[in-house]
Amino acid sequence: MKAPRSLRSLPPEGIVQRGLPWVVPVLTLIGWELASTRGWLSTRVLPEPLAVATAFWSLLRSGELWQHVAVSSMRALAGLAVGGGLGLLLGLLTGSSRVLETLLDTSLQMLRNIPALALIPLVILWFGIDETAKLFLVAVGVFFPIYLNTFHGIRSVDKGLIEMARSYGLSGWALWRHVVLPGALPSVLVGLRFSLGLMWVLLIVAETISAQAGIGYLTMNAREFLQTDVVLVGILLYAALGKLADVLAKALERGWLRWHPGYQVQAA
């Protein structure tokens, strides 16, 4: 918070401060553009930035881009809803019941050590290469971070607060709603942010295996025709969507954890 204040008070230095982080990316872009136009860099390796921009623009205008982005986003969100929902539910159950923890936690911890991507051959055998396979892969990947962090969050709710709430007459659902769930929320949101990162990684792999639509299909199709500019558009789209998901998760944290001293810096 100190930096912006000093920016306002010292405008010339502020511009330098703000512009400095962008110097390297801009120089890289200029160098890349020069290398491409001079022919030092083959378009098969990397197309010139301008070509990427043009490809992006034409895909946008034809509406093709939105279609692929929508398909990919739907897959990602469906996987997140199924896997994240199950993770949250099981985390809440094992977190609040010792019996369920004993029954389920060891098994889940064992499954957790299987990398989701190692399941690909099995997933193809089970579900073929259609939508179910992609949904399954994403769901498996996002399940564990949310499960683990929910479990941990519930277990680390301050026992003193629970004792206080009980002695003030809270029990059952009221105790959950006012004490346990809000107390576990910071941890659940950490799990969500981990999951969002994994969600896009798994989706990219799943879409690269086989797809008839989506960003993965767009890039794999372009690869066949050596359209490196479109491939790059696909890669950048994944990056942008990943960033967007992270920004949304951060906004959720800021909204739901306003009470948390760690998120009050901006408000104060």
């Binding site: 301050d158 003193g160 004792e163 003030y168 006012h178 809000p182 107390g183 929320l185 001293p261 104060a268």
Partner: protein
């Protein structure tokens, strides 16, 4: 030896400069509550209570009677079991043997009448101050009652703040308001001022005392600070070696205050040692010095 401790505490209290106690004007709780019915204090009866954690005995054969509206302080070294006794009365723990009765009935029947204040304020950090106080309040007027209670502890303007931005003393005030909003008939205080600095402590002591006088609840305070016990309580109970080693009434001796609401300043601990050479007003004290287990032998007045 415990006598001398109490003496010392009383002396310290008498010598505290008056301005320090009046650092901040506490809003007059009696005015704020005119018209509201005074809750009857609960009578507490602890009969033959014993408690052990594994092989470690904490309390043995504890008998304690507290009259309705009385303010009793339990003092003792850390780890002597004084907090355990309080937690037994609060039904947060269960006695191995013996029982605790409130107004002659089992603890479970008075759950709504008993509120506890902990050493740490235990405010829910995700609820604003006013919502913390309204926690567990039934009915639609919870918010209004919470704000009233907050005004009583002098923090009306902090209603919509997060607990994280309050100071330690303010948090304890909020915790006090949260306890009082339920109109408890028995208020249990588990070293609520232990973590506060000296000046804030004095302020809080005054606040607790004035609210106790207004509301008429029975109060049971656990503290390791003998001077605090003497300053606040009618009776000081010392727990040592798993049992009650001393049970003494605290007297106020100032002639001017006899028969009127007592003032902290005029009180000293009445124990056998000091009764041996009583100051003149002592004779008119409304509470005769009770013969206690230890006091009786040495008392010679």
């Amino acid at each position: 030896m415990h006598m001398t401790e109490l003496d010392g505490a009383a002396l310290t209290l008498r010598t505290l400069p008056e301005p320090m106690r009046r650092l901040r004007a506490i809003p007059d709780a009696s005015q704020a509550r005119t018209g509201a019915p005074r809750a009857e204090g609960l009578a507490v009866e602890v009969r033959g209570v014993a408690k052990a954690y594994g092989k470690r005995r904490v309390l043995e054969a504890i008998d304690l009677r507290i009259a309705p509206g009385e303010f009793v302080a339990i003092v003792g070294r850390s780890g002597c079991g004084k907090s355990t006794l309080l937690r037994l009365v609060a039904a947060l723990e269960h006695a191995d043997t013996g029982e605790v009765a409130l107004d002659g009935a089992a603890l479970a029947q008075h759950r709504e009448d008993v509120r506890i204040m902990f050493q740490d304020a235990r405010l829910l950090p995700w609820k604003r101050v006013v919502d913390n106080i309204a926690l567990g309040l039934p009915g639609p007027d919870g918010q209004r009652r919470a704000r009233e209670a907050l005004a009583q502890v002098g923090l009306a303007e902090r209603a919509d703040d997060w607990p994280a931005v309050l100071s330690g003393g303010q948090r304890q005030r909020v915790a006090l308001a949260r306890a009082l909003v339920h109109r408890p008939r028995l208020l249990l205080l588990d070293e609520p001022l232990g973590a506060l600095d000296a000046l804030t402590r004095i302020e809080m002591q005054q606040l607790i005392e004035s609210l106790w006088r207004t509301h008429g609840f029975t109060a049971l305070l656990v503290t390791h600070d003998v001077s605090e016990a003497v300053a606040l309580a009618d009776r000081v109970v010392l727990i040592e070696d798993h049992g009650i080693a001393l049970d003494e009434r605290v007297h106020w001796v100032d002639r001017a205050h006899a028969g009127k609401p007592r003032s902290r300043r005029s009180r000293i601990a009445c124990c056998s040692a000091c009764c041996a050479n009583p100051p003149a007003p002592m004779a008119k004290s409304p509470h005769p010095c009770p013969a206690s287990k230890r006091g009786a032998g040495r008392s010679d007045h």
